[in-house]
């Protein structure tokens, strides 16, 4: 991930110029540069999240078609920390089954339906296709030219039974910086 340092530095310079710009993980040189980074991002977020009762095994449900979740679906990165990844249709994902829900390319209303269903359970919701963060998912991924970052929906985070390390709030572009 450090191989394209010059472009990364330019991004940093730009970021420093116009704050607050969400910052995040630098991308890979790949056919889909976001693929691996999404898996890493999900892994990192999961590592800074805490579920009630500290379950040993977590299941991540990838809901709907996705653009960048190929690696995640293969269990890369997250398998090491005990997360099992399964694909689910929007209707079949339930809080009982999924501790993590990765919402793919769905319309905003469908996304909201999913998040509404998950609201009562201890579920970490991550939206792939919601840069404005209106789906009421806890975390909205931001796919930018050079980096992958995310935005936190503070409302959703505070309502959820899943606790996210406050240090991560600082990292995200969605906090009230």
């Amino acid at each position: 991930m450090l191989t394209n340092a010059p472009t990364w530095l330019i991004a940093l310079a730009l970021a420093a110029e116009s704050q607050p710009v969400p910052v995040g993980m630098p991308l890979d040189n790949d056919a889909d540069p976001y693929r691996a980074v999404v898996a890493r991002m999900v892994r990192a977020i999961v590592q800074y999240s805490r579920w009630p009762g500290n379950p040993r095994h977590l299941r991540a449900c990838v809901v709907g078609p996705t653009d960048h979740a190929d690696d995640l679906l293969k269990g890369r990165e997250v398998a090491e920390i005990g997360v099992e990844v399964v694909g689910r249709s929007p209707d079949r994902a339930t809080p009982a089954e999924c501790q993590i829900v990765y919402i793919g390319r769905l319309g905003i209303n469908e996304q909201r339906k999913v998040t509404a269903r998950m609201q009562d359970g201890a579920v970490l919701t991550i939206a792939e296709n919601d840069p404005a963060c209106r789906s009421r998912a806890m975390i909205c991924l931001l796919f930018e030219a050079q980096t992958l970052s995310f935005r936190l929906n503070i409302d959703a985070v505070s309502r959820s039974q899943v606790r996210i390390d406050p240090r991560v709030l600082r990292l995200s572009g969605g906090d009230s910086r």
Binding site: M1, L2, L12, A15, A16, V23, G24, M25, P26, R40, M41, A44, Q47, Y48, S149, D165, R167, V168, R170, L171
Partner: protein, 406 residues
């Protein structure tokens, strides 16, 4: 032995001496105090700085951990910028688990890093390293080096304050020395002044007032005692001198002035009259029967006779000091007058009258003394003492011959 050439430097004034003494003492005190304060302050500051660095490293290792996990350098940079913004931090370096530099942060104000590093090393301020642990695994390290800003500022402030203290103490020392000098030197000056008065004008009546400093009070007391002793001594001396000089030109038997005194007196009277006008009459007297009395009644009676004649002359004279015994039975009297003829007539009469009757000298002896009187008038009978004496002498002899003849 060849004497060394002694260059005599003027002795320093008391004030200068006091000021110098105070200054040295105060300089020593201030320098010692500031130096010890500086050293102890530096030690305390060093401890704080080291603690500060360790605390920051600890904090950073916790705070930066998610940024490292998310590989988010900008977030880490912002955290660093906030946490290490005080100038007690020189630089921070974060490495990831592979030992690669993840982020470096330097204090913007580039202090001369060689000097800073050397000073930091000298002060024992080593960079502090902490591991960044995530879920029991070391994912990186953070190294923090302390800056010397606070130490520089403290040292500078200490030096400035010490210099200011020095300045103030120098001034205070001067003032103090002046006050002390007034307390000590003023009485000494007074002593010197009185001593000068004693030496040059013999004013022995002045005394020192004790100024209220034990040693000088003691000195003043002794000085005053010495002055009193001097005064008494001088009084005795002058009394003795007066007595001696009285004895030198006086006849011890009759208490009358002797020939020397007579000559001085007459000379003075002549010069006075020559200037102011008037006349001086010199009477010259001689006992007619002194030799006979001596031979018949003995020297005691002779002496008594002389005393009687002296008393007679004194009673007649204008001024008892103007009567003299020139020697043996010769007496003289000097009178100033404006009418010599009347004076001569009156005095002659009084003298001869007083001595022509027999005098009871003792119970056994009633003696007829009888004196011959000659006179001379200045300026009528002569200008000099010798001329006047010759005239008076010859007149007296003429009278004496007449007396004997009659």
């Amino acid at each position: 032995m060849i004497g060394r050439p002694v260059r005599k430097q003027p002795a320093p004034a008391l004030r200068e001496l006091l000021a110098r003494g105070h200054l040295q003492l105060v300089l020593l005190a201030v320098i010692l105090a500031s130096f010890s304060l500086l050293i102890s302050g530096l030690f305390a500051l060093r401890a704080y700085a080291q603690q500060n660095v360790a605390l920051l490293a600890q904090t950073l290792s916790y705070t930066v951990e998610p940024a490292l996990v998310f590989d988010d350098r900008e977030a880490a940079r912002q955290m660093l910028g906030r946490l290490a913004s005080n100038d007690n931090i020189a630089w921070v370096e974060i490495r990831d688990g592979a030992g690669q530099t993840f982020l470096r942060w330097h204090r913007e104000v580039a202090d001369p890093s060689d000097l800073g590093a050397v000073t930091a090393q000298w002060l024992g301020l080593a960079p502090v390293e902490r591991q960044i642990v995530f879920r029991g695994k070391v994912i990186g390290t953070v190294r923090v080096a302390g800056g010397l800003g606070a130490i520089y500022r403290y040292t500078l402030a200490s030096l400035v304050i010490a210099s200011a203290c020095l300045g103030i103490t120098v001034i205070a020392t001067r003032l103090l020395a002046r006050r002390l000098e007034e307390a000590v030197a003023a009485p000494l000056d007074r002593i010197v002044e009185i001593a000068d008065d004693v030496i040059h004008r013999r004013h022995l009546s002045r005394r020192l007032e004790p100024p209220g400093i034990a040693e000088i009070d003691h000195f003043a007391k002794d000085f005053n005692l010495l002055l009193t002793e001097f005064e008494r001594w001088q009084e005795t001396l002058s009394t003795e001198n007066a007595e001696l000089s009285r004895r030198v030109d006086r006849d011890p038997l009759t208490g009358l002035g002797n020939r020397g005194r007579f000559e001085k007196y007459l000379t003075a009277a002549i010069s006075k009259v020559a200037t102011n006008g008037g006349q001086v009459v010199v009477f010259y007297c001689d006992c007619n029967s002194f030799k006979q009395i001596n031979d018949t009644h003995g020297h005691d009676i002779g002496d008594l006779t002389l005393c009687h004649v002296a008393d007679t002359l004194r009673s007649v004279a204008q001024d008892p000091d103007s009567v003299f015994r020139l020697g043996g039975d010769e007496f003289a009297m000097v009178c100033e007058t404006s009418n010599a003829a009347a004076l001569v007539a009156r005095t002659r009469g009084a003298l001869i009258g007083a001595t022509s009757a027999p005098v009871t000298v003792t119970q056994e002896a009633r003696l007829h003394i009888g004196i011959s009187v000659g006179h001379a008038i200045f300026p009528d009978d002569g200008q000099t003492l010798q001329q006047l004496m010759r005239v008076a002498d010859s007149r007296m002899y003429r009278q004496k011959r007449g007396e004997i003849a009659s």
